[in-house]
């Protein structure tokens, strides 16, 4: 985990400066979300708002540093028993999503697979 926490600062700075980035969840008095454990002690959360799926995709997969961290994800994280662990959905401009909403969208994705209300980077849906 120490390796991940060290890299996280760089990745968050990259996100903040990335084209199309709007907002990301941080804990109180912190610059990241690592201390937040809304769904249990072993479950870390990561939530952000982007202008478009393409902007998020560019940051996630087309930035060499972020792709390198994703490549090494299993060194730090296990998704075993989680069902879906990543979900995307559209929100009205000027609003910020809540963790409760995120949890509902994950459940929706688990129940129905990708659709306009809950989807993935591999199966994106256009904004309504």
């Amino acid at each position: 985990m120490a390796g991940f926490v060290k890299e996280l600062e760089v990745i968050n700075a990259l996100a903040d400066a990335a084209p199309g980035f709007v907002w990301r969840l941080v804990g109180e008095g912190s610059d990241d979300a690592t201390a937040l454990r809304p769904f249990g002690p072993d479950l870390m959360v990561n939530m952000s708002v982007w202008e478009s799926v393409e902007a998020l995709r560019d940051f996630t997969y087309r930035d060499a540093d972020h792709l390198e961290q994703l490549r090494r994800r299993r060194e730090w994280f296990s998704h075993t028993g989680l069902g879906s662990h990543l979900v995307l959905w559209w929100i009205p401009a000027g609003t910020i999503p809540t963790l409760q909403e995120a949890r509902e969208r994950l459940a929706l994705l688990d129940a129905n697979g990708p659709g306009p209300d809950a989807f993935t980077l591999r199966t994106p849906y256009d904004s309504p």
């Binding site: 996630t60 997969y61 087309r62 930035d63 060499a64 792709l67 390198e68 994703l70 490549r71 994800r73 299993r74 060194e75 296990s78 998704h79 075993t80 591999r122």
Partner: protein, 210 residues
């Protein structure tokens, strides 16, 4: 036009050479004159074959003024060609390895077995590591461009899979190429994603080897 019809247009040797001349230029679109000169044929014949390849979806055309001039007197924009991003494949008897690969990738991802895949890929690369680095790279479907101490790879042999499963497939790719470099002193592979290219770049980190 189906895949077989489209690919059968490449059986004409002049047309195939025209396709190869355009493909060799990578992302840089090329004009009729350049292809005609490379093939040693007339401009009209080159244009005929190039436009056939566009109709077949193997090349795509665009228009631009090439001289750097603009405004009145700059002349008509030239028709330029580059390789199409559309994938064509024909198999006899019918095979569907892409579907199998997508199922396998999704299963590896769900099982969290990324590192097992990297180990397998690295071992495969290592088994072919040795003197003929560029030859081995070409044999695997990459299109290497050697630029001094760097080798860029113009083509991603795993394109569709890499789009669907980027961390997993780019990680596999990196491991495979790292394995190929194991017996080549001084060279390293790293992730450097760029549009239309392989996500891995090879570079030489000292004056040894090759």
């Amino acid at each position: 036009m189906d895949d077989l019809e489209s690919l059968s247009l490449l059986t004409d040797p002049v047309r195939r050479s025209a396709y190869q001349a355009v493909a060799a230029a990578g992302a840089e679109p090329v004009g009729r004159d350049e292809v005609a000169a490379a093939l040693g044929v007339g401009r009209t014949l080159a244009a005929f074959h190039l436009d056939k390849l566009v109709d077949a979806g193997l090349l795509e055309a665009s228009y631009a003024r090439r001289s750097g001039r603009s405004g009145p007197g700059a002349g008509r924009p030239a028709k330029l060609y580059r390789r199409s991003g559309v994938e064509r494949a024909v198999s006899v008897p019918p095979r569907a390895y892409r579907s199998a690969a997508e199922l396998l990738a999704e299963a590896v991802e769900r099982a969290g077995a990324d590192e097992t895949l990297y180990e397998v890929a690295r071992a495969h690369g290592r088994s072919a590591s040795g003197a003929d680095l560029v030859g081995e790279i070409v044999a695997r479907g990459y299109e290497p461009v050697v630029e001094g101490d760097t080798i860029r790879l113009r083509n991603c042999p795993f394109h569709v899979l890499a789009e669907g499963f980027p961390p997993l497939v780019c990680g596999m790719n990196l491991a495979l190429l790292s394995g190929l470099l194991e017996e080549v002193p001084g060279w390293q592979a790293r992730l450097a994603p760029a549009p239309g290219q392989c996500c891995v770049v090879l570079s030489k980190n000292n004056s040894d080897g090759l």
